[in-house]
Subunit: 248 residues, 2 copies
């Protein structure tokens, strides 16, 4: 049987999503440990994609296969959450057809980068937002927003990535939405896929535009040159979370 | 000069507010360290009251005296927040007259106890709410609310405390308000003072009433008998925060 999990986590304490040989402090490993224990056989899960150390998720998706059918999914989810650390939560588990694969079948993803707008530093939200401190006064959001429009569409985003694979670096960004919720600016990126560090490098570059350290119309040059060195710094991981993954 | 601080903190990592000889992991100690360093003389602060290990604050108040006047309070607050750990925040600092004392002058305090209502466990809020899990379905808030009315007024709350001092145990609860914000039930206690563990024991006792494990009209008996053994269990610290302290 094949199952799909919808998962939330706070990445603060972890070395990222992806299982590693050097540490068990990865989100994938924690979930696999609990699944293997509850199901009585070694379980490997496929995430929709990796998230880096410190990056969070409110709607990560993973799939796995197991020999026997899980009889009571609601009870099973409850048990998973009992055994998982309290910064990893299974929101849903559902049966899928055997061809389902969380990464291969993903059609699009939405990532959100959060910037703190209030004068007082964040307390409860401190691990989920980028706090610019007093520098935030100098930030021009309209310029950032305007500049970001150049990124929408099907483009080669090699210049906005530290991906070292030889695989293609062409991706489509469907939309970039700017929303303010209380004291938080959310920049919401939806696309068919994102390269390694792509959202964080885009945000870092947009921040330089917002701070007037870079031309508003300079993003296309990075795309055309495919030169990572022309883009801005990688924005901190803790401001980023994977919001959702869409499937057909 | 005498100054007043308004402070927020997440209590999770600390042994409580009060300075201890055995550890420097107290909120008072962390703030005193930063103040002493910035002001160049040993500073002791007086909090409006102690909060236990794991209890948070959004509006704790403390006062301190220093030889010289602090010239730029805004800049000083900014520096304090630079040096403090990110789970302790100074919201405000202001000069007061020399008779001001955060504990002695406090007129009333508001504490909030938070209970998580959603089916999915809390993620960002996990250190700030009591999650009852699936048991929450059985909780009757109306009964809790009704029962709590017996606590309002000037009473001897010895039975709801583990205070061992010989000082008086008579306190006045001005109001208990019940509010729902999103997935969180807030029980808001305002009074002229609260004994050691008093809010947590009241909440633990109210929970037993909500779960039908105790009579709705049984609270007065605890007040009259002054017997801690008749009250319920102490509710977990992490659901509680000090919201504000009022001064004349």
């Amino acid at each position: 049987m094949t199952y799909k999990l919808i998962i939330q986590y706070e990445g603060t304490r972890y070395k990222g999503w992806q299982r590693l040989k050097t540490t068990d402090q990865t989100i994938q490993q924690k979930i696999e440990n609990v699944l293997s224990r509850l199901l009585g056989e070694p379980i490997e899960i496929d995430g929709s994609g990796r998230t880096d150390a410190g990056v969070h998720a409110l709607g990560q998706v993973a799939s796995f296969k197991v020999t026997e059918t899980i009889s009571n999914l609601n009870e099973f989810r409850f048990q998973m959450n009992q055994y998982l650390p309290d910064d990893i939560i299974v929101l849903e588990i559902q049966g899928e057809n055997d061809r389902f694969h969380a990464r291969l079948n993903a059609v699009s993803k939405t990532y959100v980068y959060q910037i703190w707008l209030a004068e007082q530093p964040p307390l409860i939200e401190r691990n989920w937002v980028l706090n610019l401190g007093s520098k935030r006064h100098q930030l021009n959001f309209e310029k950032m927003k305007l500049a970001s429009e150049e990124l929408i569409g099907k483009k080669d985003f090699k210049g906005f990535s530290t991906d070292k694979t030889k695989k293609g670096t062409i991706r489509t960004i469907e939309s970039i939405n700017w929303e303010i919720h209380g004291d938080v600016l959310q920049i919401k990126f939806t696309g068919d896929g994102f390269l390694y560090n792509m959202v964080r490098i885009i945000v870092g570059t947009l921040l330089e535009i917002g701070f007037d350290e870079r031309q508003v119309d300079s993003l296309n040059q990075i795309i055309v040159s495919k030169d990572r060195a022309l883009a801005g710094e990688t924005a901190p991981a803790h401001g980023l979370y994977l919001e959702s993954v869409r499937y057909e």
